[in-house]
Symmetry: C2
Subunit: 241 residues, 2 copies
């Protein structure tokens, strides 16, 4: 199930997207190779817990295939913080700060993950200004993503969150009238800060605004009507899901 210690050549031949990630694109070849030398590539089945909140950050993770869900728990409750799709790195902040993970991560689908020892990342980070700048860009974008998520939670009710989520999803799928939810509804519910029951009812309510739903399928009859309810703003709804 796992292949250990792949060289930079192997990883970049199989996954040139890694070298092309904004995080790595500008760094020196020698540094990139140093990172990849210690890296693992592993394939995981669905529902595997990759990291657990509170653990020390041993590896920077990069999803190259599949899907990963970041979640957090407290006092018996659990919520979804975000889902990460290829090709993207996660837990960059914990890695560079050498701090414990604040969120857990589990595979949602069968996934291929590159694991880079955190110490290597911190070494290259200290030695390669281009990498340091790339980490800043990445982190700043992540920061802004969480801020948007928080704004949404605090300023919108559940129906508004759902409506805006669908509009963002539509934009991501190129503006198509029909598309599929990328994750299970119960996970979507947790992400949106509501219960599965309420998500069901929410989708029902949106019928009055031209939205149809069957299984994962969503049809937006009138983006105009939906937008009237959702009132999207770039300061919350641009880019990230």
């Amino acid at each position: 199930m796992s292949i250990k210690g792949l060289g930079a050549d192997v990883l970049s031949r199989d996954f040139p997207e890694i070298r092309e990630l904004p995080l790595f694109r500008e760094i020196e070849e020698a540094h990139f190779e140093a990172l990849m030398r210690g890296a693992y590539l592993q394939t995981f089945p669905p529902q595997v817990e990759l990291i657990r909140e509170g653990d020390p950050s041993d590896f920077l993770h990069i999803v190259v295939e599949g899907m990963v869900e970041m979640f957090a728990a407290w006092n018996g409750r659990e919520t979804v913080m975000e889902t990460v799709s290829p090709v993207a790195a996660f837990i960059v902040a914990a890695t560079v700060r050498d701090a414990p993970y604040l969120m857990s991560a589990r595979t949602v689908l069968r996934s291929r993950i590159v694991l880079i020892p955190s110490q290597d990342v911190r070494n290259v980070f200290a030695a390669d200004p281009a990498f340091a700048r790339a980490v800043v860009t990445e982190l700043a974008e992540r920061y802004r993503g969480v801020v948007k998520h928080t704004k949404e939670l605090k300023l919108r009710n559940s129906l508004e969150r759902l409506a805006n989520y669908l509009l963002r999803l539509q934009t991501l799928t190129g503006g198509a009238e029909e598309f599929d939810l990328p994750i299970e509804k119960r996970r979507l519910a947790a992400y949106l800060g509501m219960t599965p029951e309420n998500l069901s009812r929410g989708l029902r309510s949106l019928e009055a605004h031209g939205v149809t739903n069957d299984g994962a399928r969503i049809v937006i009859g009138s983006a105009e009507a939906l937008r009237k309810l959702a009132r999207p703003t770039p300061l919350i709804d641009d880019t990230s899901l």
Copy 2:
């Protein structure tokens, strides 16, 4: 009310804390001076809106005296995202990304703010690896702060949020049994994601757990009892408010 274009010498003589900020401590003297040459120092009365969400990020801001509140609005609703106390920089992410502000900021108290043109910050950021690394550290910490805030909002009910807030505040004030709320209750309520009425009732409910409140004054009769209700965890409650 404002003094323009202070040199590095003036600013660092009057506010050595700026040079000592983690953000600037390690950068080259020449670069620090370049930043300070274009910097403004301004004094603002309370309730002045310093930046407005959506505006382009013209300046990196540093509170050297007073208190600033970051807030966000949507569709007629408004919420407090965080409060910033001296000496700390805010809106670093927007500045380095050259992206619009996601949050607005207003002074809560009469405040002295250093404004550094964003372009200067981005220039030094590109030229000074030590600064770039410092920005990463700063951003990673901010990121983790918002993640904690979001976890708290999604996983705790309002009474639990309040109880944990009081415990964090107690820790910040050195563990004293008595201390004052640092911000108005209505702002605290918005920060905690509740209404002022509910905050009042919440403080009342906490009497059953040994907490007394009169005006801004909080007395924690038994941290033990409060902790039993609050169930704090470092993964949410360490460090930031």
